[in-house]
Point group: C2
Chain length 154, copies 2
DNA sequence: TACAATTTGATTGCGTGCAATTGAATTTTG
DNA sequence: CAAAATTCAATTGCACGCAATCAAATTGTA
């Protein structure tokens, strides 16, 4: 009695592990593509935003990547140490730190051009499939964040 | 020309980020459920296996969780320090380390009983939806690992 | 039995990821 | 304008996660 329900509920655990281990698999798939660029995957995510906009605050990066300053500050310092970005206080609000690309950082965009295509091939999926799974994951993420964050809809 | 293709290919990047950020969201959803048990999510994964089998080698844990000894050894030492598991060399092959539950480790199973149900509710998904997404993610993971691992199916 | 190759776990070093705290700058409020 | 509340980044401490390396045990082979 209830045994079937118990087994069914374990599916949530299994789905979480599937997400968890797929994230690791993505990381490993990116590694050989990003190593030649001298970037880790989270660093690459930051560079993608900067290649699109060039000047972004730490807060904005944190909002878009869902990461806090405890993660971003040291990551950005490493990008700075590698000569890819600069960090300076905003003139209008000195609490803000503006991250911007250096010439080397901008130049890296060209070298990274092949990455999305190679990743696409590595997934073995169709564009429709990619798009659908992305939507489903973002919907799930929304549910999860609203469930433990009192500010959410749930 | 090719612009549409370029945009389309970025979907792979976006899917990866969706997986990446959903994994973080799962972690945060688990945290309030696992904190009272004194477990982190990776530690919970190890305990799930042990609650099912009790005696497992480090190699077997690594195979099932897709983690290596660099991650598992310190994690298992923390579980041991917290009195939940024991670690001993196998008698038949002293290279192997057998991880087993203590009485406290076995007792924790009962306290963890509510976790899967609460997680299931947090996903807001149907059992069919959970099952389908899990299958799709595992298929994707298989593609990704075979793409950069020469030992795979190609 | 010797000796090389393999298996297994431990260690080291580096880079996230996050909760909690701190401190400076800004905004709000009386 | 001055005090309180808020915002923002930095810092600290802890726990993964992984590549590379090491050491011990086992297996294969002559």
């Amino acid at each position: 009695m209830g045994k079937q329900k118990d087994e069914a509920r374990k599916l949530a655990n299994q789905l979480c592990f599937a997400v968890y281990s797929t994230a690791h698999a993505f990381n490993k798939a990116y590694k050989p593509l990003l190593d030649p660029l001298g970037l880790t995957y989270p660093q690459y995510l930051v560079m993608l935003i900067l290649w699109d906009e060039d000047e972004v605050t730490v807060k904005e990066l944190g909002h878009r990547l869902q990461l806090d300053s405890g993660t971003l500050t040291p990551l950005l310092k490493r990008l700075e140490a590698n000569g890819l970005v600069t960090r300076r206080r905003s003139e209008v609000d000195e609490r803000r730190v503006v991250v911007a690309l250096t010439a080397a950082g901008k130049a890296l965009d060209a070298k990274a051009g092949e990455v999305p295509h190679k990743l696409f091939c590595a997934t073995g999926m169709t564009l429709e499939g990619l798009n659908r799974m992305r939507e489903e994951l973002l919907a799930l993420r929304g549910e999860l964040t609203s469930s433990h964050d009192p500010g959410g809809a749930g």
